[in-house]
Symmetry: C2
Subunit: 361 residues, 2 copies
DNA sequence: TTTATTCTTGCAAACGCTTACAGAAATGAT
DNA sequence: ATCATTTCTGTAAGCGTTTGCAAGAATAAA
């Protein structure tokens, strides 16, 4: 190849002091690629961003230069110039539960497929933090926001809406019907599990609620109550124990239910973790699962199939919840006119071995 | 206040089209603050960055303008100009285990205290991803990198070192003694737990290893072996079962150990999750814990104290691991000359109720 | 061939900030 | 009061991109 490409006369002001990249190496820029490929930096930008109006052999030449130089676009600069940061913020309470783990897995899989970065913020249940984070995030750091089980929506949802900043709530109903959310059929899940127990022959079914300030907990409870009603069974308030979604509360709740003068023959816990507590309490009371007491959970976290006996439970498509939320968010980012949507994903009853027909039927 | 401050003649070129902030609102910039406070934007920058040489009443005036306008610095611009992004990257395999949860908690607590942002990357054990992420991250996105249990170090550690990019490994030994790491005393933990069992009177102690390609697993095993040796006990290879750190493997391992012609009287699992599997298997074999078989774990995750009986285990200061890593990383970021350090945090034996003297002594 | 269109490409400005540099103001020493 | 310092503040350049605009190249239409 002897056909020398003449260097375009680009404004090559001598840099003030070639500031190295924060660390040692001063990185290759769009300019370097342009020089290497013998085009202007604007063209390189067009190639990088897959814009139309680039001759295909020019494009190839640039692409080759990019790989040979190992060029990686500088997101900060891109964001500054173009108004896109290619990052989304994720606000969660806490990590470390498989509930979160699965949701986050769905989120970051979809996000990385779309070449987006993830900024993580954990509130550790400090409500004030939510607002602080949100304020920083919408200030250009990210293009959108994903909120898993937010606790303090009132503090910033209005701000988000006013600035028309893209966001999606996960596993939270939102403040009204105009909030974009991804949720599951909690009511139906509660209903299905209860009906299953009823159809097995159970007449007294204990219920352990989650935190009752969460809409999902309320829905599971009403699903349970509706199923009882539909099958002509009384809704004995003694059978409903108010829990918190944590394991010890499952243990305590089961103990309290078992001590009842007329104890239940089945216990429905509003999540798997509490169901594990229930199983322990049942065992400690010298009873067997499922022959003496049936136990059913909610969520279908990975452990549910690993305990003994494997737990019958209502599966929530957690990973899908995350994926769906990302899909909605990106749609909204790419087209702000996009009408806001609410996605409701179905729960499924997973029948394993923790339930059986009641003993004394 | 009638003392009108004359407007400094700042280059106020008419903007090309007042690009709104990606969303609706065009955000307040350093310029707006400058105008409001009647100073130049450089001064505002000095105030924001807490630089010296600003008269205190000027500083106050600027501060007031900042709050009244609700100004938030644009990180991308700051990063572009100054070479600091105030973000660190966190590379993990997976979320959703309480092991990770606790480490991440420590990390993001320290990080947010230092006003740093966290970019999260999960590899889901796809080794290729590690390198891709690392390459992007060091390209200006972040000021430093935290790697929890990396699996593919060889692929990029050299790059990191060459560019002198700040990073710290968590719970990984690194390739040589010159890698900055935060680890725990795995060997000692293995030793302590084993010695405890020996001192209770156990002579045949089963051991379930973790994934043996991890140095921590090897260390726990050698701690176990050393304790046996130091107490004059034989190291029966039949008593060592190679596991994976996952619960089903704990179940399987315990089953296999219990089927031995001369089964152990105690089982030491290399992590708590496997220990839970062990407990299940022991129970399913019709044996009691701790009267028939003692069980001991490693990690001290939250659940360890909640199972029945509460699990005796070797606590790793996971949250502290995270905090320490951040401390080291920020030190390195703020002073690249900082000599690389290796921090070793102590494990502690937590005695609960899953161990007892052996039955047939 | 000439002219009108449609493609390609380069130039320059702008994104919001940091920081070197230099001039102005204030302070201290003489 | 004068000069040397020191403290304070403003100007300008530059960080690495994106993108409107306009000019040149290629193609289609006449």
């Amino acid at each position: 190849m002897s056909k020398k490409l003449e260097q375009p006369t680009q404004t090559l002001k001598t840099p003030r002091g070639r500031r190295p990249n924060g660390n040692g190496l001063s990185s290759t820029t769009i300019m370097d690629v342009a020089r290497e490929a013998g085009v202007s930096y604007a063209t390189v930008s067009r190639v990088v961003n897959n814009k139309e109006y680039v001759k295909s052999d020019t494009r190839e030449r640039v692409l080759k230069a990019i790989t040979s130089l190992g060029y990686v676009v500088n997101q900060q600069a891109r964001s500054l110039a173009g108004g896109r940061s290619y990052a989304v913020g994720l606000l969660v309470r806490d990590l470390g539960s498989s509930y979160m783990g699965e949701i986050v897995r769905g989120i970051d899989e979809s996000l990385s497929a779309a070449q987006y970065n993830l900024m993580l913020y954990t509130t550790h249940r400090r409500k004030i933090k939510e607002r602080i984070y949100v304020n920083n995030l919408i200030q250009g750091m990210t293009d959108g926001l994903l909120l898993v089980l937010p606790e303090n929506l009132e503090a910033y949802l209005e701000t988000l809406d006013q600035t028309n900043f893209p966001y999606v709530l996960i596993d939270h109903q939102g403040l009204d019907e105009r909030t974009p959310v991804v949720i599951t059929t909690n009511w139906q899940g509660g209903y299905d599990a209860t009906r299953y127990l009823i159809e097995l022959g159970h007449r007294r079914i204990g219920f352990l609620t989650g935190m009752m300030d969460m809409r999902s907990s309320q829905d599971r409870l009403s699903g349970y109550q509706a199923a009882l009603r539909d099958h002509g069974l009384p809704a004995d308030p003694q059978l409903v124990y108010e829990g918190t979604y944590y394991q010890p509360e499952g243990y305590a709740g089961a103990q309290s239910l078992l001590r009842l003068p007329e104890p239940p023959t089945a216990i429905f816990a509003s999540n798997d973790v509490m169901a594990f507590g229930v199983m322990e309490a049942v065992r400690d009371a010298g009873l067997r699962i499922p022959s003496d007491i049936s136990v059913i959970g909610f969520d279908d976290i990975a452990q549910a199939s690993q305990v003994a006996p494997p737990l019958t439970t209502v599966a929530q498509p957690l990973e899908q919840l995350g994926r769906e939320a990302v899909r909605m968010l990106l749609a909204r980012i790419n087209n702000p006119e996009q009408p806001i949507a609410r996605t409701i994903l179905p729960t499924t009853l997973i029948i394993r071995q923790s339930c059986d027909v009641p003993r004394n039927v």
